[in-house]
């Protein structure tokens, strides 16, 4: 599948934003948050900014952004619509929570709002994951691990940001670092498992099934000599060797490097203001590559018509 930069930016940025929102809200509910007052405000605003940035960038992907509002209507069947609804719905409690924190109000009102924000964040990210998971046409996406990976990556990138914010705020980041480390380990593990799984299967569909006659040897003539929309959109395929290198990059920059740095912070509690930004940048890079690969490694069954043997 063609990796659209707007979609990569959207899913990574808003994923991190929802992750951050989730942890902020949860920590707020449980009352363990080392951030308070304007610090909390800055934190929650950062989360909302990331979310908004992501959502805005996703509209660049639309052919008719001015009609984007229509996307909220089909929540009964469409995960994309549900994502939109969840995203917008999450703004409500999260926005109110932000307002409350702006005015320094807290207490009984902020708790349910925080809870709802956390839930909204989870729901939105889940929907994002399900948009892909629901597509039977792409085996690398149509996989039960996919929404969990979306959640885990949102959680770890959010935790990493939380860690960064706490470190910047001068708080003790050990807890957040531990949290981020655990999330990263979880996400990395899931991603690794996912790769093993998708590598192990060859694709359930063949050119014979697509054309309906057994024994397809080759496409002799394509319908058009230059690539069309379907070939450009669904036919994008990263070379295997390249993909392996990129996966290594994801594991290194996305998980290993930030993981080690976080471990250092978690164990020693020191150097957080220096290490956390490095970890965030490293993880960010890793995450973008991960998301790019998520598309570039995905094979669409429609390509069976254009010469692919299996998908």
């Amino acid at each position: 599948m063609h990796p659209a930069y707007s979609v990569i930016l959207f899913t990574t940025a808003s994923g991190a934003g929802y992750g951050l929102l989730f942890w902020l809200s949860l920590a707020h509910v449980i009352g363990v948050l080392p951030l308070a007052g304007w610090q909390f405000l800055v934190a929650i605003c950062s989360a909302l900014a990331l979310i908004t940035l992501g959502l805005l960038s996703s509209t660049f992907h639309l052919g008719r952004p001015e009609r984007a509002w229509r996307a909220f209507s089909q929540w009964r069947s469409s995960w994309l619509s549900r994502e939109g609804v969840a995203a917008v719905a999450t703004y409500l409690p999260a926005g109110l929570l932000t307002l409350l924190s702006l005015f320094g109000v807290s207490g009984w009102l902020s708790l349910p709002l925080a809870l709802l924000s956390a839930l909204g964040a989870v729901a939105t990210v889940w929907c994002t994951g399900m948009i892909y998971t629901s597509l039977k046409t792409i085996r690398q996406w149509h996989h039960p691990l996919v929404p969990w990976i979306y959640l885990a990556l949102a959680a770890s990138s959010g935790a990493l940001l939380l860690c960064l914010l706490i470190a910047f705020a001068g708080g003790t980041a050990r807890g957040a670092a531990t949290l981020a480390l655990l999330a990263l380990i979880g996400a990395g593990g899931l991603k690794w498992l996912y790769w093993r799984r998708i590598d192990a299967e060859t694709g359930r569909f063949s050119a014979d099934m697509a054309i309906g006659i057994p024994g397809v040897q080759r496409q002799l003539d394509p319908p058009h000599t230059r690539p069309n929309y379907v070939m450009r959109e669904m036919g994008y395929q990263v070379a295997r060797k390249h993909a392996r290198d990129l996966r290594r990059m994801v594991l290194t920059w996305g998980f290993a490097v930030p993981g080690l740095l976080l471990a250092f912070v978690a164990v020693t509690g020191g150097l957080a203001p220096v290490l956390a930004p490095i970890a965030v940048m490293s993880a960010g890079a890793g995450l973008v590559v991960e998301r790019w690969l998520f598309f570039a490694e995905a094979e669409h069954v429609a390509m069976l018509y254009y010469g692919a043997e299996r998908a």
Binding site: Q217, R218, L220, H224, T225, R226
Partner: protein, 953 residues
């Protein structure tokens, strides 16, 4: 759930519908052109669909026809007359007025007509108004006229006309409704584009068997029930083996042979005599047969005899003679044509040939069709039924574009005739005005004595010589035509040799000319052999720096590769903007059951300063004072232009370009006085006219009394005599006798052996010339037409070019393996002439010794309104760069044209090549981009139809 959105289901297609004739190719289907006003209030073409009532396409439309909008609005359309201001090829032109253009043309053409009319060579390509262009050239007086037939498929036309008075091409059809077994030889698309598709669809639905003989398995050949992946150029052997099998198993329609063919005619056996191999004739000139009923000689043309098919008979003069049938049997039952003998060379297993022969015989004789339809034969005998042998065949350029194509084509006809399947139910059917006599009673004109200053030629240029006496040569054998048509090089070149014109003119061989006038032929590119050489010829200069071909006038509708090489451009309209006449006088649209012709009329008005070519030709004729184009007082005869000519021109009294609605009361068909309202009647009727044949005239028309009489009445036939199939062709033998030294017209010595060998009166197979002369080129290279592209002109079509913007060289997987190449890898393909670089695609369904590509996809930069980096320029390639217009040096040093030795048919498919892996990409040869300053830039986006979209929300 909210209700589904309301959508406009009944929007009218357009504001009006006009019916005319398609010309995205030469098939000439009827079309309904829906017009809708654009934002400027001017009608635009909204949609083109097939005319359901039309005899040719019966409502369907092909891929090209359906893309007509993009053809009509092509950015490559020429805009105004132009005169060249830079060197040839530079594309530097100045737009001029029509008046100036015609002044210039008249200034060039009038003086040479006064001195030596043959210094004009007028050749036309894809046009279908040969009756006008030929007439014009006749009135001008030059012998140098032909259309594209000589490089197209004259082998087919001549092979058929010399044998049974009809032909494949678009001049006859398999009986699609009754055929049970259909053999298709060497056809990818053909002229009868939609009719063949409709027909194949019918056969497949009915479960008739379709057998394809073709080195390549695509298109029609892909849907065949059996594919014979023959080696190119060997069909004669394959067909010979089938004939062998029919003879061997004695499955032949003897009655049919006796009734309709010259099988019983006696051939004189007197080696060394001047009439050896000619028919023994009685005092009245009738061919003699041996009549078993009376045990005496009889006339081969008599009806009431029982001719013998075998035995040596002593003629009254004491010499012996044997019937044609016996000679045939000897030839085809001989060792050369056993399935085993031809198996290796054809690549077709002997067993498969035996099976096909058995199937042919089975279907012909055990599945015969009987129609309860009374008819009367030529001798007046009444028959209650029409008996059909439901086997039919069709062949085209896979046979004809080889140097052995004429004889191979004849052999296929012999196969049909042995099975009794010409013009019978389920067999091959003539389309009127066929059948003609064998050969037709139409001789070529333009012998040296006939060419006089300011005099029209005595008759039409093209015809069918019956012997050396009809050649167009002078006393010492020099051809009188520039293309050497009807000379010893190509004695029965019934369509001329357009592919030799430019090169001969540049070499002044046989002589030089002053003006080359061409119409609708992309001779500087895909319709020439040896493109590089042709370009050199077009730009060759003499010592003074003047062009060897001094003046070139060209009419095209688009900015093709040829336009920049002309000195004067006469821009034509598109097919939707002009009058055209598809006449019974040249290539009508008749169907087997129907005499039919058609017109085109302007359904939209040109928005450029362009004029229909015929219109211009008529005006030029008047300006030159050509006899047929002026009145006695010198005023133009057709002031109303082409419509005036179509309506009022008469070739003979009562016979004009169009057959329909003639006579004062519009009630005469075919023959009648001109009718001033004729064109209106055509337009009312959907731009065509069709006259149904009586059902009793539907078959056996070569010998159907009713039909023959009716056809004479309608002016489409000259002779009341039946057409007798010439299994043995006497005209061939006459040329052969000349080669043996008989007669006063003698070929040059270099040509003797060639003529003697190839003018065999009984068809035979010989290896195509190129492979006899070159070594080290193990593969055959051929082209196929894509069904969705018409030669070069499809590539300017924004829709069609998306389907094929570049071509590949298709090679057998085993060849690819040996070479170590994968799909899209670059290779060098070379012939004895040169090499091209192209990309391969591997396939299974191709003869192992054959490579092929789609024809005419490769383009030269600068032409057709395409960007320089268009795939047509950077990846597309032509095989034409590899095909030599002259044969490699053979014995004697004289280089004959790369053509069939009998008809002069261009041997495009004789090409032999070798293939090597290339190091890097990019097609070669890559010619300099053509300049095209006069053309507007092409748009970089199209949203056709947006103008009619209902505003949203």
């Amino acid at each position: 759930m909210p209700p589904d959105p309301q959508i406009a289901l009944s929007t009218p297609v357009g504001d009006s519908v006009k019916q005319t004739t398609c010309y995205m190719c030469a098939c000439r289907c009827g079309i309904d052109v829906h017009l809708k006003d654009g934002p400027d209030g001017k009608p635009r073409v909204r949609y083109i669909e097939g005319n359901r009532a039309h005899p040719v396409n019966k409502g369907v439309l092909c891929g090209k026809g359906s893309a007509g909008i993009m053809q009509h609005y092509s950015p490559a359309r020429l805009r105004a007359p132009m005169k060249r201001v830079g060197p040839r090829g530079s594309g530097q032109f100045e737009e001029i007025s029509w008046d100036e253009a015609l002044e210039i043309a008249t200034g060039w053409l009038a003086p040479i007509r006064k001195t030596d009319p043959k210094r004009l060579a007028f050749f036309t390509g894809r046009d279908q108004s040969q009756s006008l262009t030929g007439f014009w050239a006749m009135q001008y007086g030059t012998p140098n006229f032909a259309a594209h037939g000589g490089f197209c498929s004259v082998n087919m036309a001549a092979g058929g006309l010399y044998t049974f008075g009809g032909a494949f091409w678009e001049f006859g059809d398999p009986d699609w409704d009754y055929t049970k077994y259909f053999m298709l030889f060497g056809v990818a698309e053909d002229h009868a584009s939609n009719p063949i598709k409709i027909g194949i669809g019918k056969l497949k639905k009915r479960g008739a068997k379709v057998v394809s003989i073709n080195p390549v398995r695509t298109g029609y050949n892909a849907v065949a029930d059996e594919w014979v992946g023959i080696r190119p150029g060997t069909d004669g052997l394959f067909v010979g083996a089938l004939i062998h099998e029919l003879f061997r198993t004695r499955q032949i329609d003897l009655d049919y042979l006796v009734r309709y063919t010259n099988a019983p005619w006696l051939v004189i056996e007197a080696p060394g005599a001047a009439d050896d191999g000619l028919f023994a004739r009685d005092a009245d000139g009738n061919p003699m047969v041996w009549d078993k009923a009376t045990d005496a000689f009889g006339s081969g043309k008599a009806a009431d005899i029982q001719p013998s098919l075998s035995g040596t008979h002593t003629l009254p003069d004491g010499r012996s003679a044997r019937p044609v049938f016996e000679l045939m049997a000897e030839r085809y039952l001989g060792a050369d044509y056993t399935p085993e003998a031809v198996e290796e060379r054809t690549g077709v297993p002997a067993e498969q040939m035996r099976k096909i022969a058995a199937e042919l015989a089975h279907v012909a004789f055990r599945e015969e069709i009987v129609l309860d339809r009374p008819w009367t034969d030529w001798a007046g005998r009444k028959h209650d039924t029409m008996i059909g042998r439901p086997v039919s065949m069709h062949a085209m350029r896979g046979i004809s574009a080889h140097s052995n194509g004429f004889q191979t084509c004849r052999m296929i006809h012999i196969l049909q005739i042995l099975l009794g399947s010409i013009d019978c139910p389920g067999g091959f059917r003539y389309k009127p005005p066929y059948p003609k006599q064998t050969p037709p009673n139409l001789l070529p004109h333009g012998a040296p004595g006939q060419i006089q200053p300011e005099m029209p030629l005595g008759g039409p240029h093209l015809g069918f010589p019956h012997g050396p006496e009809h050649l167009l040569i002078d006393a010492d054998g020099t051809p009188s035509r520039l293309d050497k048509g009807f000379s010893w090089d190509a004695p029965i070149s019934a369509h001329g040799l357009m592919h030799m014109v430019i090169n001969n003119a540049a070499k002044k061989d046989p002589y030089s000319i002053d003006v080359l006038f061409m119409y609708m032929a992309n001779m500087a590119w895909n319709s020439s052999m040896n493109v590089g050489g042709t370009l050199e010829a077009l730009t060759a200069t003499d010592d003074t720096g003047a062009y060897v071909i001094p003046k070139i006038i060209y009419s095209d509708a688009y900015y093709s590769e040829t336009v920049p090489f002309a000195d004067l451009i006469l821009p034509d309209t598109t097919y939707l903007e002009r009058w055209d006449c598809i006449s019974l006088l040249d290539r009508p649209i008749s169907e087997p059951d129907m005499v039919a012709d058609a017109i085109r009329h302007p359904v939209v008005q040109p928005d450029r300063d362009v004029r229909g070519f015929q219109e211009v030709l008529i005006e030029l004729g008047a300006r030159l004072h050509l006899p047929g184009f002026i009145n006695a007082d010198g005023t133009p005869k057709f002031p109303g232009g082409y419509p005036d000519y179509i309506t009022n021109h008469q070739r003979k009294p009562g016979i004009g370009p169009l057959a329909g609605w003639r006579g004062e009361n519009a009630d005469k068909a075919c023959v009648g006085d001109p009718n001033p309202d004729q064109l209106d009647r055509y337009i009312e009727n959907g731009a065509y006219f069709g006259l149904k044949l009586d059902p009793g005239h539907a078959y056996f028309r070569h010998a159907n009394r009713g039909y023959l009489d009716w056809a004479i009445e309608k002016g489409i036939r000259l002779s009341p005599e039946p057409t007798i199939f010439q299994l043995y062709s006497e005209p061939m033998q006459k040329f052969r006798l000349a080669a043996q030294g008989h007669g006063d017209r003698q070929p040059p010595d270099r040509a003797r052996a060639r003529i003697e060998a190839h003018f065999d009166p009984l068809p035979f197979w010989y290896p195509p010339f190129e492979e006899q002369l070159v070594e080290g080129f193990p593969l055959h290279a051929i082209t196929q037409r894509p069904m969705h592209m018409y030669h070069s002109w499809g590539s300017q079509n924004a829709w069609l070019r998306q389907i094929t913007a570049a071509n590949r060289l298709y090679v057998h997987t085993s060849v690819g393996r040996d070479l170590g190449v994968q799909d899209d890898d670059w290779v060098w393909l070379s012939s004895h002439l040169g090499r091209v670089k192209c990309q391969v695609r591997l396939m299974e369904g191709v003869n192992r010794h054959t490579v092929w590509t789609w024809n005419a996809i490769g383009k030269r930069r600068g032409a057709w309104g395409l960007d320089g980096d268009a795939p047509e320029n950077t990846e597309g390639f032509l095989l034409n760069h590899l095909i030599s217009e002259l044969l490699p040096k053979g014995g004697g040093g004289y280089r004959y044209s790369n053509s069939d030795p009998l008809t002069g048919q261009a041997a495009w498919f004789d090409l032999r090549v070798k293939i090597e892996k290339a190091e890097s990409g990019g097609t070669e040869p890559l010619f300099e981009p053509l300049g095209h300053a006069s053309q507007p830039p092409s748009p970089d986006k199209l949203a056709y139809g947006a103008e009619w979209k209902e505003p949203a929300e």
